[in-house]
């Protein structure tokens, strides 16, 4: 489904003589309906890799092929079509502050041109799934961290994307809420969605028993089908 081929990303700054290597010639495949965890220390290159898949940044070398198309060859005008096939969950939630929970989740469906009756049917369903049906009319500032992250997951999920990219979704949460979010991601995966989870949470990885790709200093140092957190 997603093929990462010889991908490198080098950031150069005019203020620093040494360029920063975020990704260094990495290659691997993500199959359809797979649950893959990307593991590494902060700054290992996990987020950069997810940004490349989303075509948020251009690689210095190599390519990302999503469903047979190199995402960096796609014209900016046509990028929304690619992104509508991907659901994204950010570590800092990135909810729309002036939209209610319901509107935050509905936004993605509106973007896709969904009918009003479909939105009215699907949004309460998905909020029920993430346990936030009673918070539909609240604004993000009125929610706890765990609740915000569940809204972010609902927003990533609402349009039934082919893949969900979750970038440190439990990074700001306590163990109790962390368990809840991981359970939710497993539930989504169980429904047939590919999940790519980037994290540096040892307990989360060890409890999953799924494929783990370990990245260190921009290189893949381990790729195991039933991996554990080893750094």
């Amino acid at each position: 489904m997603i093929s990462i081929q010889n991908l490198s990303k080098i950031y150069s700054s005019k203020y620093s003589p040494d360029p920063t290597v975020a990704l260094n010639d990495i290659s691997f495949e993500i199959e359809d309906k797979e649950f893959v965890s990307l593991v590494g220390k902060s700054g290992a290159g996990k987020t950069t890799l997810l940004k490349m898949i989303l075509a948020e940044e251009k690689p210095s070398q190599g390519k990302v092929v999503f469903q047979g198309i190199n995402v960096h060859d796609i014209n900016r005008k046509h990028l929304p079509k690619l992104r509508q096939k991907i659901g994204v969950v950010f570590q800092d939630y990135k909810l729309f502050a002036f939209k209610t929970v319901c509107e935050n989740v509905a936004y993605v469906m509106e973007v896709m041109g969904a009918k009003e009756e479909d939105i009215n049917r699907d949004v309460p369903q998905i909020l029920d799934l993430v346990g936030l049906k009673d918070k539909m009319c609240n604004f993000p500032r009125e929610l706890s961290g765990g609740e915000k992250q569940r809204v972010a997951i609902a927003r990533a999920l609402i349009h039934r994307p082919d893949v969900i990219l979750a970038d440190e979704p439990t990074g700001n949460l306590d163990p109790y809420h962390t368990r809840g979010i991981i359970k939710l991601l497993l539930k989504i995966h169980g429904m047939g969605t590919t999940v790519v989870l980037a994290t540096h949470d040892k307990n989360v990885i060890n409890s999953l028993g799924k494929r783990v790709v370990t990245i260190d200093k921009g290189k893949i140092i381990r790729d195991e089908q039933k991996g554990r957190f080893i750094l």
């Binding site: 989303l54 929304p80 729309f96 973007v111 041109g113 927003r155």
Partner: protein, 302 residues
């Protein structure tokens, strides 16, 4: 398409009210900008009225010799009227001139007594000639002095008035130049202020705009609500400015009236009402749309 448009309008409308603090600040700035533009627009008719009122007070008088009959004067008048620079001619007989003089100075016994002592009417029959523009008086005067009526004319009262006429001419040209200069400067300031206000408002939402792009929104779907907010700000500011302009024009009417009775700011407001409101709306909406369109551009490159 219509669904998208409906959603964009609804989203812009909601954002305007949910961000009410920032919206009000933008409306206030926009009011100042539109007010500046309206003032420049209204200054045109006011300065026109001022200039024409001053110009009306300027004329060239031709005084005729004692023994010239009224018919001869009328013939001269008809001849002068055919000169293209001449706007209008008024005949004032020596009796009329005396009457006006007595009327004007009836409260001044010294003048009235001196006149009585003189024993005869010291005034001449005269033609007051008004030209279209201050610059044309010299031409008219020289035509009269060099023309065929030379023998009938006692005096052309132009050179005594020349300094005043030149001054009026300089003021007229000056007002137009200054108006254009300030118009340009204020216009540029207005556009920059409006643009920066909208830009600051949008800078506030830079992260949200990136997220909108990352969850798959097209550029027009992201930009739309901001443009709608710009339009709402523009319309509200235009209406408030119209009311403000009305109050000021009405309030200033009597004060300006006592200084320059020919100028009525209230009438100028009423006569230009639709054009003024159109300019105010166009300024508000136009600046709102263009500013938000340009300000949001750099965040859409993701």
């Amino acid at each position: 398409m219509t669904t998208s448009l409906k959603r964009i309008i609804k989203s812009g409308w909601k954002s305007f009210f949910r961000n009410i603090g920032l919206s009000i600040a933008s409306v206030f700035i926009m009011i100042m900008v539109i007010f500046m533009v309206s003032t420049l627009f209204l200054l045109g008719p006011v300065s026109d009225a001022l200039i024409s009122s001053v110009e009306k007070k300027v004329d060239v008088s031709v005084y005729f010799k004692e023994n010239i009959s009224e018919d001869e004067i009328m013939a001269v008048s008809a001849e002068i009227n055919s000169i293209s620079e001449v706007k209008e001619i008024e005949y004032v007989s020596k009796d009329q001139a005396l009457e006006t003089f007595i009327e004007r100075h009836k409260d001044d016994p010294v003048i009235i007594e001196s006149l009585a002592e003189l024993g005869y009417n010291p005034f001449y029959d005269a033609l007051n000639i008004r030209a279209w523009e201050a610059s044309q008086y010299e031409q008219v005067a020289s035509l009269l002095e060099a023309g065929v009526f030379q023998d009938l004319i006692h005096k052309v009262d132009y050179y005594q008035r020349k300094p005043i006429i030149d001054k009026v001419f300089a003021i007229t040209a000056g007002i137009n130049k200054i108006g254009l200069f300030f118009g340009l400067i204020f216009g540029i300031i207005a556009v920059l202020v409006a643009f920066n206000t909208v830009r600051i408002a949008i800078n506030n939402s830079d992260e949200e705009i990136s997220v909108m792009r990352l969850v798959g929104a097209s550029n027009s779907f992201v930009r739309g609500p901001f443009v709608v907010q710009g339009i709402i700000v523009g319309v509200i500011a235009a209406i408030v400015t119209l009311i403000l302009t009305f109050i000021l024009c009405y309030g200033f009417d009597s004060r300006i009236g006592s200084l320059a009775p020919e100028i009525s700011t209230y009438n100028i407001f009423l006569n230009n009402f639709f054009l003024l409101f159109l300019i105010q709306l166009a300024t508000g909406i136009g600046l709102g749309i263009i500013s938000s369109y340009i300000a949001i551009r750099k965040y859409l490159k993701i």
